[in-house]
Structures are given as structure tokens and as C-alpha cells.
């Protein structure tokens, strides 16, 4: 076995080994049990006192959502104004300009919703102030929003009828002080000691060995790169994201960044098991999600390590794999693994350019975001999976002729309507967006968005809306997307694609929690079995495959057949 493959397998195993105890730790944090960071309690109490928040006050599901949405609106207004005026504010050593209103709109929304649809390049598009006080700030708080929303749902899944589902601000703040800040500090320090810049010095000018004069962009990047992965946001300091040699200097940092982005989504699955004392259910969910991940990973690895067949025809040595858009220090395998992780987990950071991936890999990246429930983003991954579980319970219930029940509560028409709407919203946003942009482009090709002709050009547009709706943020970056059309349309897709999939599950969970608890009996459809896992997997794949198959045929699959069978 070669060292590139071993590197990938080792990275995955290390992730699981860390995620299980980390999941236990998360449970302790939210149950208020003793942890090693308890010395922060006075700090948290002081913060709540200064803000006038009573962190012990229980909230019902509606109060949770109102609190969550109001604080998010504040962040959006703040971020929009900062980006619009950054050129004339301080901490701007490179003298970068302010953003246009449509780009500020898109960027502010993108980061509020824990996405990183960057229609700019970090080196020229932002200042050190906005990188830290807008982008990195939102990377913390949007990730904490996702975790808090998930814990509300966890609370609602407990075995008692209840209105009170914890306090939003308490869970939100603890996500930052106990989870995100400490772990991203560790990641940032590893990066710093491997050569990632962290100082506030501006661009450097270098006379190269050959005698050219070039510039090198720098800045306090390490801290942001820590939280960008841990919080599954993915927004890079530099334009090339984690392909950039300062953002991801070597194979060690590449492993650390890959582990960091999967850590919380994985740990939260195990946390579900510990929190509700339903370990078997957590292992089934983990199993289904892992099978989903591996089913995307294997075709991607094969396609990328085999190289581009059109270049093979030219008669050169492609044993290193398809290297366009990839970095030698990571190699084709680790790049393939990253591209699958970042799309199933809604991180959206990249260590290779997805636009130059092989068509099979492009299909897998798209499917990762279309399903959006295998591991998934910080907190929201399990929320998406929860919707699919509700649908699977309902369908299974119909199949065996029993009243559908989920964790001791009856699923009725109201919950099903919400679940179905959320499940169908995703294909609706993606396909309508792609259809409109395709129409605009064919009507007037002089808009010049596409960097590649034909099927691949269509894939660039499909990818952009898929990435927006999934709050992923990666892109087929050849797409010329910094213009009013893309900034505005993807901006709206981002908002809808974030908040409805949070509101939906929280509402369902809240409604269910108020219902009478029916203890499980021999007649109950068990939701912690392998059979139910397969059922959920089937629901996910049928909704994703059936809804998106025609679009995939027009894009990456058509490209595959022209490239491999021409």
C-alpha cells in the first residue's frame, strides 16, 4: 500500500479516535457536569451579568428560534456595514478597497449562515480588520448557533413531556468558550509552528533567487484557519484557501485541518448517543453516514489517482494522478479525500481546485452537498439527518401498517408537512437557481461567467447553487461570480438554505416534545436498528438521486462520457 493511501486511512482513524471522547466531553458541557474548563464559569457568569441575560431561564422552541434569529439579524447588519466601509477603516496595511454593495450583501450573508461562498479573494478583497472582526467572528458565532440549535433538538428528544428546552444564550456561549475557542487555539498553534503567519505585518516584497521581484501576502491568518475548520465554515484567509502554502504548509497541517473539520460533526453524533442514553442509535447513524461518505470517497479516489485520460493519451507519466489544481505536498489521494469531506460536511474549504477535478469526482462533490446529511455541518448536519429520519419513520410506519412513532412520540400530519417541505426545499432552490442562470447565460452568452465550455460550464453553475443551498461555500471557482446576478441570487439561496433547515427540525422537535410520551413496546418500530438505518439511507439517496439525476446527467455525467469514451 502506498504512503498516500495510508495517510488518508490514518487521518480517518485518528478522527474517530478523537471524536468519541470529544463527544463525551460535549455532553458534559451541556449537561453542566464537571469538565477541565470549569475555571471559566466565573467568566461566563460575568458575561451574562454584563449582558443582562438570565442563563438559567428555560425557553420553549419558539423562544429559542426568536432569540436565534434576532441575534443573527444583528450580525448581518453589522457585517454588511463593515464590509461596505472597510477601505476607510483601520488595520488595512495593504490598502484594500471597500466592497461593492452587492458583494457586501453576499459576503455578509454567506458568513452569517456559516458558509464561505467567497466571491472575492482574501488577499485583495478584505482588510485585516474585516478578516478578523467580520469573517473570523462570524466563523465562531455561526458555528455556535448551529451547535446550540442541535442541543435544543437533543433536549426535545428526551423521554419526558416538556416545554422547556434549555436556554439559547447559555448553550450558545458555552459552545464558544468550552468548545470552539480552546480547540481552535490548539489548531492555530500547530499551524503557527509549521509556518503559517500570525503577525499583523503587511505584504512583503521579495527578490527571488532568479532575480524577480514578487510580493507575498501575509497577516494574522493562523487563528482564523483554526476556527474556519473547527466550525466547518471553510472561509480561507488566502484566495486559494487551504491549497495555499501559508494556509496549509505541509502534510501534518493537512491532516490536522482534515481532522478539525470532521471533528465536531462526528463528535456530535456520538454526543447524541451519550446525551440521550441511546448509544445504539448513535452508532447506527454513524454507520449510515460513514457508508454514505465511503460511497462517495472510493469513486473519487479512483478517478483522481488514475489521472486525466485526455492527458494520458498525450503519452506522459500519470502515475502521480490528475495534478491540475492540486499541490504536490498533499498528492492526489489526500486531495480526493479532502474534496469529499469538505462537500459532505459543508465546510467548503479546499486543498485542491474542484473545478479541475475529474467528472466522477465532481459528481461525488455535488452529491455530497445534495444529500448534505452525511456527517454534515457543525450542528446542522444532524438536523438535516433528523428530517430524513422523520420521513423514514413515516414511510416505514405506512409500510408495516403502524402509527409512525419516533422516540416515543407520534408523528402526525403537521410534523410531516414541515419535514417534507424542508426535504424538498433543497432541490427546489438548487434546480430553480441553475435553471434561471442557464437561461440567462444562453440568452446572452456575453455575460461571460463561464471559465469552461460545454457540460463543464453547466456544472459550474449547478455547483454554485448547490454549494449555496447546502451552505457549503466551495465552488467551481472558474465561475465569474462577483457580479450583481450571482451575488444577489446566491445570497437569497444562502439565507433560505440556512434558516429553514434550522427552523424546521427545531419546530418539529418542539412540537413532538410537548406530546405525551409513549413508552416503547414490542409493537414500536425501532429506530436504532440496522434495518432502520438502511431505510434512512434509502430515503436520503432516493430524494437526492431522483431529484438531481437529470441535472447531474446534463453536467458532470455527460462530461464523463465525452472524456472517457470519446
Amino acid at each position: 500500500m502506498n504512503t498516500e493511501l495510508i495517510g488518508v486511512i490514518a487521518t480517518f482513524i485518528i478522527t474517530i479516535v478523537i471524536a468519541i471522547p470529544f463527544g463525551k466531553y460535549i455532553v458534559k458541557v451541556f449537561k453542566g457536569e464537571k469538565t477541565i474548563l470549569d475555571f471559566l464559569i466565573p467568566v461566563e457568569k460575568t458575561i451574562f451579568r454584563l449582558c443582562g441575560i438570565d442563563s438559567t431561564k428555560q425557553m420553549n422552541w419558539k423562544q429559542h428560534l426568536i432569540a436565534l434569529l434576532s441575534i443573527n439579524i444583528l450580525w448581518f447588519v453589522y457585517a454588511f456595514i463593515m464590509l461596505l466601509t472597510q477601505g476607510s477603516l483601520f488595520l488595512n496595511p495593504d490598502g484594500n478597497p471597500s466592497m461593492s454593495p452587492d458583494l457586501s450583501f453576499n459576503t455578509a450573508i454567506s458568513f452569517v449562515v456559516n458558509c464561505n461562498l467567497q466571491h472575492y479573494s482574501g488577499e485583495t478583497g478584505l482588510t485585516y480588520l474585516t478578516q478578523l472582526a467580520v469573517i473570523a467572528f462570524l466563523q465562531f458565532v455561526s458555528a455556535a448557533t448551529g451547535i446550540a440549535a442541535l442541543i435544543v433538538v437533543f433536549n426535545a428528544m428526551k423521554e419526558k413531556t416538556t416545554e422547556g428546552l434549555g436556554n439559547f444564550f447559555d448553550m450558545f456561549l458555552k459552545s464558544i468558550t468550552r468548545i470552539l475557542l480552546p480547540v481552535s487555539s490548539i489548531i492555530a498553534l500547530i499551524l503557527v509552528f509549521n509556518g503559517t503567519p500570525a503577525s499583523f505585518a503587511g505584504k512583503d516584497t521579495i527578490h527571488t533567487l532568479q532575480g524577480d521581484t514578487v510580493q507575498v501576502s501575509r497577516g494574522p491568518a493562523a487563528g482564523m484557519i483554526g476556527i474556519k475548520h473547527l466550525g466547518t465554515n471553510g472561509g480561507g484567509w488566502f484566495g486559494a484557501n487551504s491549497a495555499h502554502p501559508l494556509e496549509n504548509p505541509n502534510y501534518l497541517t493537512n491532516m490536522v485541518e482534515m481532522i478539525a473539520q470532521v471533528l465536531i460533526p462526528l463528535a456530535l453524533i456520538f454526543a447524541l448517543g451519550f446525551y440521550l442514553n441511546r448509544k445504539k442509535m448513535a452508532y447506527v447513524i454513524f454507520g449510515v453516514m460513514t457508508i454514505g461518505m465511503i460511497s462517495f470517497l472510493i469513486p473519487t479516489m479512483i478517478a483522481e489517482t488514475s489521472g486525466n485520460p485526455a492527458i494520458t493519451k498525450m503519452g506522459i507519466d500519470q502515475s502521480g494522478g490528475s495534478m491540475e489544481g492540486k499541490e504536490v505536498r498533499f498528492g492526489a489521494s489526500a486531495s480526493a479525500y479532502w474534496s469529499v469531506l469538505t462537500t459532505i460536511i459543508s465546510t467548503g474549504s479546499v486543498n485542491s481546485m474542484h473545478d479541475s477535478s475529474m467528472p466522477v469526482s465532481g459528481t461525488m462533490q455535488l452529491l455530497g452537498m445534495m444529500t448534505n446529511a452525511f456527517y454534515g455541518g457543525c450542528g446542522v448536519g444532524i438536523l438535516n439527518y433528523y428530517i430524513f429520519m422523520i420521513i423514514a419513520v413515516f414511510i416505514s410506519g405506512l409500510m408495516v401498517g403502524r402509527t409512525p412513532e419516533f422516540l416515543g412520540r407520534k408523528i402526525e400530519a403537521r410534523e410531516m408537512k414541515i419535514a417534507t417541505m424542508i426535504a424538498l426545499l433543497h432541490p427546489f432552490l438548487i434546480l430553480v437557481g441553475t435553471a434561471i442562470s442557464s437561461y440567462m447565460y444562453t440568452k446572452d452568452p456575453s455575460v461571460g461567467w463561464l471559465n469552461n465550455p460545454g457540460y463543464h460550464g453547466f456544472s459550474e453553475m449547478l455547483y454554485e447553487y448547490t454549494s449555496s443551498a447546502a451552505n457549503n461555500g466551495s465552488g467551481f471557482e472558474g465561475l465569474g461570480d462577483n457580479n450583481w446576478f450571482w451575488n444577489i441570487t446566491t445570497g437569497f439561496v444562502l439565507i433560505i438554505g440556512r434558516f429553514l433547515p434550522i427552523i424546521g427540525p427545531v419546530a418539529i422537535a418542539g412540537i413532538l416534545a410537548r406530546k405525551k410520551f409513549i413508552p416503547e413496546s414490542a409493537g414500536t418500530l425501532r429506530t436504532d436498528t440496522g434495518t432502520f438505518g438502511i431505510m434512512t439511507y434509502a430515503v436520503i439517496m432516493i430524494i437526492a438521486a431522483l431529484a438531481f439525476f437529470p441535472a447531474l446527467v446534463l453536467g458532470p455525467l455527460a462530461e464523463y462520457f465525452t472524456l472517457y469514451h470519446h
Binding site: 443582562g52 488577499e123 481552535s184 507575498v216 501575509r218 491540475e324 486531495s335
Partner: protein, 186 residues
């Protein structure tokens, strides 16, 4: 909603200070003891800064080892890949031209031994590395121009080869700038 606005505003303000000021300042302070002091690791030749050890540089002269094609011409003011799709015919024409150019500059090299990383652009446009094959294949050309034994240069490449992490994780590769510095120092 009104009851939440003021507390939210205050909480956001406090978190802004913690996450966007204290946190990066803490990392910057810790970086002072890291190699490069948090400014990036520089490399020197005769006490002169010649670059950053992991930012690739452009080498066009035939008596240097050359790196990979770059979409940003190795100017690290920015960073980008080509974003060309594998089926794009304009792109494939460019790759073919790179192969032809390489064969002209490296006479006697068999086409089937050119590794793909030498004719494809990297993701960042700043890739500091090439594959070991990509370095060895350039040895005959450089040996001739620099009037050195090929064996000496092969062993130089071997000496400059960076190994997989702990010997087992990830690919072998050669840092082009460091290899060229070693070449000058011969």
C-alpha cells in the same frame, strides 16, 4: 424579539472582543517563539533573503530546476489555480504545448517519463514542490549546462527529497527553491 435585541447586542460586543481581538493577539504572541516569528519562514543565501521556504518561485533559466506551471505566475500577492476542467480543449492544447516545450529543453528525455505535475498548474499557483521524478528528469539538462556529473546531481536530489510524514503518511516531494539553493552551493 425586542426583549432579545439589547442582550444580543451586548453579548455580540463582548464576543467580538474575545474572538476577534484577544484570540488573534494571543496566537500572534505565541507565534513570536515559532520559527519565523509568525511572519512566515524565510530562506537565505549569503545572508540575503531570497524567499519563503514554502512559497514557490518561478525558475525560467534552464540551469535551474524548474517548478510547476502557475496560474498567478508565482506572484504571492495573490493565489489561484487555473480552474480549467479536464475536458476543456483549450486547456488540453496548453498541456500539449507544455509537454512539447519540455521535450525541446530536455533533449533525449522519453516523453513517457514526464510526470504530470510538471505540466499541470497547482491549486495555489504557489506550489513550492515537484515530485521526485520531476526533479530527476531535469538532472541531465542541468548537469550539461552546469558541467557537473549527473551522479552528483542525482544524489543532490536524493539529499533534498522530503520524506512522507513519519515515513508513512503522504507523498515524497522536492522543494524546488531549496534544491536550487543546494545546487548553487555545490
Amino acid at each position: 424579539m425586542k426583549t432579545y435585541i439589547l442582550p444580543s447586542l451586548k453579548l455580540s460586543g463582548i464576543l467580538l472582543i474575545i474572538c476577534s481581538a484577544l484570540y488573534p493577539l494571543f496566537i500572534a504572541a505565541m507565534a513570536l517563539v515559532a520559527p519565523g516569528g509568525g511572519n512566515g519562514k524565510k530562506v537565505f543565501e549569503n545572508d540575503q533573503v531570497v524567499g519563503y521556504d514554502n512559497i514557490g518561485q518561478k525558475f525560467t533559466n534552464d540551469d535551474y530546476f524548474q517548478g510547476r506551471p502557475s496560474a498567478v505566475n508565482y506572484n504571492a500577492a495573490g493565489s489561484a489555480g487555473s480552474n480549467k476542467g479536464g475536458s476543456n480543449s483549450d486547456y488540453l492544447t496548453i498541456v500539449q504545448a507544455r509537454i512539447d516545450t519540455f521535450l525541446v529543453h530536455n533533449p533525449g528525455i522519453k516523453k513517457s517519463t514526464i510526470p504530470s505535475d510538471l505540466v499541470t498548474a497547482s491549486g495555489s499557483g504557489l506550489d513550492p514542490h515537484i515530485s521526485v521524478k520531476g526533479a530527476n528528469i531535469q538532472v541531465p539538462r542541468i548537469a550539461k549546462l552546469r558541467k557537473r556529473e549527473e551522479e552528483v546531481l542525482y544524489s543532490l536530489v536524493k539529499k533534498c527529497t522530503e520524506h512522507p510524514l513519519l515515513g508513512v503518511f503522504g507523498p515524497e516531494r522536492v522543494n524546488v527553491l531549496k534544491l536550487n539553493l543546494a545546487l548553487n552551493a555545490l
